[in-house]
């Protein structure tokens, strides 16, 4: 019924590429974004490590990165990418802009989650003489955990959308397959199949996220 030029192998490779790109950039993006989000919360006016200067640099910086369309971002940082992974094309090269794209996004979501923590909890922590690090680790993060998981889930799904653009630098992946074959070549079968794969990915991620969040909320 459908005709396609994509081979099964290409599908497999694309799936692996997507998982690899999403996984790596989520991992590193979280390692960057979560601390940034925490930094936003603790240094903001009234925060436990209030720091006007730091906050008024970090806050707009995050905005600047967030305001760049992904493709522009990708091009703008090519020299940086090359410095890090030695090349500006391929899956590894795609991960660099993906990280830079997702980190500030995660930072904002984390900020929003942490701001919802009951101020009384922070007071309790302060009354115990907890250091700022301890406040973050033993109080803020556990209390916001359910919300944080949902935030990371949202970020992950956003990341899947962004990996589609990764094809631009030859990153491959399912989204790229959808664009190159489905969009550019009107290959309906490729389009439908890739979309189904993406839906399955997203579904798995969201269900896992929801389940974890539910558990974290002790429901």
């Amino acid at each position: 019924m459908f005709e396609t030029v994509i081979t099964l192998e290409q599908f497999l490779q694309a799936s692996i590429d997507t998982l690899y790109m999403v996984g790596m950039s989520l991992l590193i993006g979280s390692l960057v974004g979560i601390p940034l989000g925490i930094a936003l919360v603790v240094t903001r006016p009234g925060g436990i490590l209030e720091n006007k200067i730091f906050y008024s640099i970090l806050n707009p910086l995050i905005n600047i990165v967030r305001s760049l369309p992904f493709i522009i971002l990708m091009v703008a940082i090519i020299p940086f990418t090359r410095m890090i992974v030695g090349t500006s094309i391929g899956t590894n090269a795609a991960i660099v802009p993906l990280i830079i794209f997702i980190s500030p996004f995660i930072a904002r979501l984390v900020e929003n989650s942490l701001l919802e923590v009951n101020p009384g909890i922070i007071e309790a922590a302060e009354s115990m003489g907890a250091t700022p690090f301890q406040i973050i680790w033993h109080f803020l993060l556990p209390e916001a955990f359910g919300s944080l998981i949902l935030s990371i889930t949202t970020a992950t799904i956003g990341l899947i959308g962004a990996t589609a653009m990764a094809g631009t630098v030859g990153g491959g992946g399912v989204g790229d397959l959808a664009i190159v074959y489905g969009y550019q070549r009107f290959d309906t079968f490729a389009m439908v199949t890739t979309v189904i794969i993406l839906v399955i990915f997203v579904q798995i991620i969201q269900s896992t996220g929801n389940a974890l969040a539910r558990k974290a909320r002790k429901e």
Partner: protein, 339 residues
Amino acid sequence: MIEMKSVYKTYKRKDVTTEALKGIDLKVEEGDIFGVIGYSGAGKSTLVRLVNYLERPTDGEVIVDGQVLNHLSDSQLRAMKKQIGMIFQHFNLLESKTIFDNVAIPLVLAKKPKEEIKQRVMELLDFVGLREKAKSYPRELSGGQKQRVGIARALASNPKILLCDEATSALDPQTTQSILQLLKRVNQEYNITIMIITHEMSVIQEVCNRVAVMEAGEIIEEGSVLDVFGHPKHPTTKNFVKTVIHNSIPESVKRSLKKTGDSKVFRVEVKGEVASEPIVHQVMKAHDIEVNILFANMTEIQETTLVIMYLQIAGEASAIEKAVQFLKDKGAGVEEVVK
């Protein structure tokens, strides 16, 4: 141990200004169990929150353990706070952690070994009667159970100072009793200084040696509990003392009071040893008078008995006068009550 020098605290938001504290001078000695009472909104919580610097004074100095808090660095402040346990009015438990973990937190922060933590926490949970709730989460507890978790948490790290903001307000009298006994014990055994905010006079009566009465951001009366309870000066204090030392004649007795021409009503206050002597009997036997006990109340404050009676004495004027003198000689405080 804790000292405040003309401390002011003002909250401002837009055009609304609240003067929560207006010039507080206060001294809590080491080993004191210091009670603070006052109407709702008097500034009690604000006062205690200044002691561990959760709130900064708008003006004035807070001195804890000889150190002026305003002058301490962040890390010095943290070290200080580690010595101060706090029981919050609203508990402030971590919803994401089990009861065990909530109580363990101060020990975890102090990096105590796991085994020690486990033992200490179970000991505390045992004490507050929540051993079987160790694996529950705060949302699964009743109000009083949450409060007990807060108490256990504050005690976990053996603080030198303990601040209790309405620590027993959600507890039944028995549990309150056992908590107060514990406070007394830690106070005596480890010489811990305790500051208790409460609106229950019975709590102060039970454990405090000193008390301050607050009203509208000011301390209106302060002193040893026996003094303040025995002779409250300020009307507010009188109101509070009334709630534990029922020293007014019940309405129903007043109503049925026989207004015989020659009877008089006296308020008689007896303290200490004398209280256990049969002085009413003695006065009756020794004089030609008729005595009706309109009201009698015995209270124990700091292990001393305080007796307050309203006696209606009938008889000849001279006999009554002699009887009063007899009571006074016995060491009782006697005042005539104008009907």
